[in-house]
């Protein structure tokens, strides 16, 4: 064997060995950030802009399947009239002195209110005129705490969850043009600022208004134009769920002359051969897409009315979404909880459910080609960071 051949064989052997086992010695990849971009034509941009500027067509509310009261709303039990409380003998007999009525027969009814207010006390005078109430010396910065601080909107701007610019019809235009009112989110700070802190600290509101990004237009799925799946000898999948998913578009054939190497690569990448293909669910959800969903739910997750114990409770909520990103109300369920009692978990779950239903009412903005990736979701609601705000 010639020296050149030996070197070639050794080199190839090393290359194959490195290819097979080299991954074991790989170091952790350096962190990097990626930004997804898409290129659209001027016509598409015009079309998208036109859609965005157009007023949203309000969805016709679907008539709810209102259950009959007997099914879903328990009847208020009738209560026997309570025994009237004896009249207090002393001038001041607060309501606490009144006799407590007997427990109602129904277990869920709270004890009846005594509500026998005593007579007015025998006091020299009873001043009923209310004085002028002084305002607090320092107003609270905002009533709303949100992940991102928001400056107060202009006085003539209507407060709304979605920010939109004002659109006025052009002067002299012949056709009726839609008018859009300017809206802006409610002012918010990124943490609770007490009066003591407000006196010492600089204002926490940002100097520049942080306006939400415009809502991207959801790509329209046109079922009729979906290309037919390539014919294959393998039997078609029987699952109804699979039938709902659009078939992946066939890879365009390269224009260059195919070679054995390219054929092999193509065969491997298209999933043919011995490798079992994953479910046709599109590419994985990117971190940006996950963050968008996370942010969308966060904006409606209002923990302001939760009890202290519920604020220490983490709940995991499972749900299913339609293709339009709308939560299926019947699928929302609490999978697990930790950190609090059952009652606190129930409160935390109800708050999470409200967040999902409220912000998902018009559908979360999710890539439709990845529906199988986000059809079923498990959301963990962890209020730990909110406790310290």
């Amino acid at each position: 064997m010639q020296t050149g051949t030996k070197i070639s064989v050794a080199g190839h052997a090393f290359l194959v060995t490195w290819a097979l086992v080299g991954g074991w010695f790989e170091s952790d990849p350096l962190p990097f950030q990626s930004q997804e971009v898409s290129i659209i034509s001027a016509e598409e941009f015009e079309r998208l802009s036109a859609v965005r500027a157009a007023p949203e067509v309000a969805e016709i509310p679907v008539a709810p399947q209102v259950p009959t009261l007997a099914e879903n709303t328990p009847r208020v039990p009738n209560r026997p009239d309570p025994v009237p409380a004896p009249a207090p003998a002393e001038p001041i007999a607060p309501p606490a002195e009144a006799e407590v009525a007997p427990e109602p027969p129904a277990p869920e009814v709270i004890p009846e209110v005594p509500a026998t207010v005593p007579d007015a006390p025998d006091v020299p005078e009873l001043i009923t005129e209310l004085p002028r109430v002084a305002e607090p010396e320092t107003a609270q910065p905002t009533d709303r705490v949100a992940p991102e601080p928001v400056q107060p909107p202009e006085p003539d701007v209507r407060v709304d969850d979605i920010a939109q610019d004002e659109v006025a019809p052009d002067q002299g235009a012949e056709a009726n043009q839609p008018v859009q009112e300017e809206t802006a989110p409610e002012a918010a700070s990124d943490r609770i600022v007490t009066e003591a802190e407000a006196e010492q600290a600089e204002p926490t509101a940002p100097l520049i208004t942080s306006r939400p990004k415009p809502r991207p237009t959801r790509p329209v799925v046109q079922e009729a134009e979906t290309p037919a799946p390539p014919e294959t000898e393998a039997p078609a999948p029987q699952s109804a769920q699979v039938d709902e998913k659009p078939a992946p578009a066939p890879e365009p054939k390269p224009e260059v002359e195919s070679s054995a190497v390219e054929d092999a690569l193509q065969e491997a990448l298209t999933g043919a051969g011995e490798v079992e293909a994953p479910e046709p669910s599109g590419p994985p959800m990117t971190e940006g897409e996950r963050d968008a969903l996370r942010l969308a739910v966060s904006q409606c997750w209002n923990v302001g009315s939760l009890s202290s114990e519920a604020m220490r409770t983490t709940v995991v909520v499972g749900l299913s979404l339609s293709r339009q990103g709308v939560p299926d109300a019947g699928s929302i369920r609490m999978l697990s909880s930790s950190g609090g009692s059952q009652g606190a978990a129930t409160q935390a779950y109800e708050t999470a459910r409200r967040a999902i239903m409220r912000c998902g009412a018009k559908g979360f903005e999710l890539p439709t080609d990845k529906y199988a990736q986000w059809r079923d979701i498990e959301m963990t609601f962890n209020p730990e960071r909110m406790r310290i705000k």
Binding site: G23, V76, R79, V117, G273, R294
Partner: protein, 442 residues
């Protein structure tokens, strides 16, 4: 060679294909939500339905008090009636959730009022609009017309509890010192009112100075300090009968700053003799007292923990007034406040999780809270003079005295959420100080 290269590339491509497959999403998409918003939860409270024409005024008034209670807590925001798409005309009819969702009402309160003679019957239901279901079961309360406000407070407490998961505080009262007249000739007398400032009634006349009233755990008695004898002595007053008696056992000693133990029969207080103040306990039935501290410093403002096992108090034994905790039977005290300034008037939360206090630092007074070990100190207010905190029955709200500066300065009651939000004045007819919040009424 060409086939070998193709095989090699096939292997490489296979590895490349398998790698992302191994990282592919397994099962449902999982995300974690850690950021949310803190804002009042919007609710709708249409006027309650009057079963009879005579009940219409009560129906409207009760709904207003309920809404005022919820809004006043700072946790809820009422949606104005002009925004309603539809109303409620039949208490027993099913709710059209779509109309309430459209105006972002996350909770809906429906009620009906019946008046028969002087007896009011109130039925109510609360709904979780976005869940499309009722929150708990419908309830019914009954009482006399004189007590319509208490009925409303009871309803509000129930709704508050269902929405927040913790007990309410609306059906409670506050005893305080009513102050009238100029600063150099101020008249003080004990007064009692609903938590929201309604139904003010006076318990003493203004002949003698009274200080620091404190409710008993059952809300039927009040401890306070009076200068009726010329120097401070502790009295106990039966709120229902408006009868009082002196509790001091030593006529020569000044006793002040009393507070009930959770058992309702023991009190803890300060007694001053020879310029030195120490803490004592007393059984109010037998009059037997026990000395808890014996130090040359001033110990005062004691407050029991909810289980009665510990006492927090203020002492200047370290040179400046600081907070200490010790066993309720006495013994070694542990200092828990270490910040700058002076600490005083500590009060243990009914939940047992926090201690509220007054802090004086850099010429300003603050109301603050800290954990019972002194950690997580947080100042909630700042003003010329804030002092004397008292906890709401559910441990969520603190009421205190705020006095404004100057000769025309006057003391007022304020309340603030334990988070520092919702700072607001409490309506009182005159100046007011030294509030003490009662437990929830039965």
């Amino acid at each position: 060679m060409r086939n070998a290269l193709a095989t090699l590339c096939l292997g490489l491509a296979t590895l490349l294909t398998l790698a992302p497959a191994g990282q592919a999403q397994d099962g449902p998409l999982r995300i974690e939500i850690t950021d949310g918003v803190i804002e009042p939860l919007p609710f709708a409270a249409p006027a309650f339905i009057a079963d009879t024409p005579a009940a219409s005024q009560y129906a409207a008034d009760i709904a207003r008090v309920i809404a005022a209670d919820l809004v006043g807590s700072g946790l809820f925001r009422e949606i104005p009636e002009v925004s309603y798409i539809s109303g409620l005309s039949d208490f027993d009819a099913a709710v059209n959730y779509t109309d309430w969702k459209a105006i972002n009402a996350q909770a809906l309160i429906a009620g009906a009022v019946n008046l028969s003679g002087d007896r009011l019957t109130v039925r109510f239901r609360a709904y979780d609009v976005f869940a499309g279901q009722e929150l708990g079961s419908g309830l019914q309360l009954s009482g006399t017309t004189d007590g319509w406000r208490r009925i409303a407070h009871k309803v509000a407490d129930t709704i508050y509890s269902r929405l927040t998961g913790e007990g309410g505080y609306f059906d409670s009262r506050v005893v305080f010192v009513s102050e009238t007249g100029p600063k150099d000739d101020r008249k003080k007398r004990l007064a009692i009112m609903d938590y929201d400032g309604a139904n003010v009634q006076y318990l003493t006349n203004s002949n003698d100075i009274v200080l620091a009233p404190r409710f008993s755990p059952t809300g039927d008695r009040v401890l306070y300090t009076s200068y009726e004898s010329g120097f401070p002595q502790i009295h106990v007053l039966d709120v229902g009968k408006v009868q009082r008696r002196v509790l001091s056992t030593n006529d020569a000693a000044m006793t002040f700053s009393p507070r009930f133990a959770p058992n309702g029969t023991t009190i803890v207080y300060s007694q001053s003799e020879g310029g030195n103040s120490d803490l004592y306990t007393m059984n109010i039935n037998s009059g037997q007292s026990q000395r808890l501290t014996s130090a040359p410093s001033i110990e005062t403002a004691p407050s029991f923990s909810p289980d009665g096992s510990q006492i927090v108090f203020e002492s200047d034994r370290s040179g400046a007034s600081q907070l200490y905790v010790m066993a309720s039977s006495g013994g070694e005290a542990k200092r828990i406040s270490f910040g700058q300034g002076r600490y005083g008037t500590p009060v243990w939360s009914p939940r047992g999780d926090y201690i509220a206090f007054t802090k004086q630092n850099a010429g300003r007074f603050h109301i603050g809270v800290m954990r019972t070990d002194g950690s997580e100190e947080r100042l909630l207010t700042a003003s010329f003079l804030d002092e004397g905190p008292t906890w709401s029955p559910n441990g969520r709200v603190i009421m205190f005295t705020r006095e404004t500066q100057g000769a025309a300065g006057q003391a007022r009651l304020y309340s603030v959420d334990v988070s520092g939000r919702n700072l607001k004045p409490v309506k009182t007819p005159d100046g007011a100080s030294d509030p003490s919040w009662s437990p929830l009424q039965n």
